[in-house]
Amino acid sequence: MTYTAASTKKDVGTKGKISRRYLLKRYVDHKYFFLMLSPVLLYYIIFHYAPIYGVIIAFKDYKIVKGISGSAWVGWDNFKELYTGLYFLPVLKNTLIINFYKLLFGFPAPILLALMINEVSRPLFKKTVQTITYLPYFLSWIVLSGIIIEFLSPSRGPINIILTMLDFKPIFFMASVDWFRSILVSTEIWKTVGFNAIIYLAAMAGINQEMYDAADVDGISRVKKIWYITLPSIGPVIVILLILTSGQIINDDFDQIYNMLNAKVSSVGDVIGTYTYTEGIQKMNYSYAAAVGLFKNVIALIVVLIANFIAKRWSDETIF
């Protein structure tokens, strides 16, 4: 594990054999570091790079008995099925619509929450609100779905009981084509809003107090302080997070949707993730499902790279 600044220096600016020898020396010098690194590299080769090799079954007619290499090539046939088949396009549409609404409503929600929490001066109240809004984040979608189904139940759910008291008909929310997407979006916000507000709260904590003091001297109202000081100050954080979140437009939340989906609402709620699962694992349609997955991954890759590029343009504060 011994390494010296000298060996690094010699490496710079020299060419050919000498540099190669010093490079080798540097590797030898760092052999214990690579020994440390090797289990991690092995993990990535097995569990990340090997599945990428497995992607080629999307271009094959995969038969379990023949294996990946033995199965016949079929070119783009599996992908042609995507747009000629009956099911894929509606599924893609559902994915994009649900994610668009999650972005539209889910993105501003934590900002609003953080702005409100930031205005609270009582520490106990502040902490209580934060802790409560944080709670659903720690629970699985299975638990939350169970709770939500009960809460929205036509006979026992408080919402429906209030509706009937007001002389409306109870609504079977979970089985309603009209309501299902709204439920997906609102429950997603319910689960993550407290957690997502943290970044904004941290950004607000970093705002220079003198600006508020100066505003106080001028006798400016709280609403105006939010509008002219707080929001512009956290503006860069908002923009970066917006760009990065919009990169998720095609990545559906399988966890949530699979647990809330039922036959009655599959026409509006079936998304790429759930579709891949039923086609691939349940119907063992491996090649076709792999093609669906590959299609999604490629689109996701492109969108994320674009989003990250724009984020980099905007400021240095990128994740990578």
Binding site: Y27, F33, R156, R222
Partner: protein, 291 residues
């Protein structure tokens, strides 16, 4: 926070803020209250129309069923074991990967980092991974739940950046005092990395406690299932027979058992999360520091 004098509009504004936050908090808790109340109510109250926050009469039949249900306890144990093992493995591997990559002198450091980061952008997807796990013979074993996600690239980068920030001077001065690399690693780097490793442990723990999809994919034997999967069967599929109670045949109060199962699975989390929250917040902030 910052106002000395309060104008009328400010007071109005603040009262709106306080009321909205209060309503929001109550609204967040309401569904939990409903579950708790119903789980303790007798069947006729549960099935009758109406809703109340505080139970009027008590019946713990649902809980009795849960406590007599072996499968729930077995799956509880599986989840605890899974979470514990995963934390141990993930923290170890993450540190082993992050420390060398944080070294500026590591040859081809950018390449080796890129080799890992690349997987964040592109993956094989569900089907190839499923076939791989099957091919490796991990089906129906706990390793199928732990190994495929043993390292999180995102957390690895966070740890790498954190270790990178530790001043090199610390190591150099230790070297001057004659400390060797192993000693420096154990006595300087590792202790200083504890906060970020705790974050990794926390994220990993919460993830594995709540995970169920991999268990649905890879585990066939009911006795090896994790708690969330058993919960799913009972609560979402309404599969009370799958819950393996002797009382399954008798007139079972399915509803209260479902709700009691939910409560039993939530309680440990409700008890620990206010304490975890503090570290989670810290961890999230560590993660958001520029890389």
């Amino acid at each position: 926070m910052y106002a000395h004098k309060k104008s009328k509009s400010d007071i109005l504004f603040l009262s709106v803020v306080y009321s909205v936050l209060t309503v929001l908090s109550i609204g967040t808790l309401l569904p939990f209250f409903q579950i708790l109340t119903l789980s303790m109510s007798p069947i006729d109250v549960v099935n009758s129309y109406g809703f109340h926050f505080i139970p009027t009469s008590f019946d713990f039949a649902g809980y009795r069923q849960v406590f007599h249900n072996q499968l729930i306890w077995i799956s509880y144990g599986n989840t605890i074991m899974r979470t514990g093992l995963a934390i141990l493995l993930t923290v170890t591997l993450t540190f082993l990967g992050a420390y060398p990559l944080s070294k500026k002198t590591l040859p081809h450091r950018t390449f080796w980092t890129g080799f890992i980061v690349l997987t964040m952008f592109f993956s094989g997807g569900l089907i190839p991974l499923y076939m791989l796990v099957k091919g490796l013979g991990l089906m129906n074993s706990m390793w199928s739940l732990i190994l495929p996600g043993a390292v999180s690239t995102f957390l690895l980068l966070i740890v790498r950046n954190f270790v990178h920030e530790i001043p090199v001077a610390l190591e150099e001065s230790a070297k001057m005092d004659g400390a060797n690399d192993i000693y420096i690693l154990r006595k300087i780097i590792l202790p200083l990395s504890m906060p970020v490793l705790a974050t990794v442990a926390l994220y990993t723990g919460v993830h594995h406690w709540n995970a169920w999809f991999d268990s649905m994919l890879y585990i066939q034997s009911e006795k090896k299932q994790v708690l969330q999967m058993i919960l799913r069967k009972i609560v979402l599929d309404g599969d009370i027979a799958a819950a393996g109670t002797e009382m399954a045949q008798s007139a079972v109060n399915t509803q209260s058992m479902k709700l009691a199962t939910l409560v039993v699975s939530i309680i440990p989390i409700i008890c620990v999360y206010p304490f975890l929250q503090k570290y989670f917040v810290k961890g999230t902030l560590i993660g958001s520091i520029k890389g």
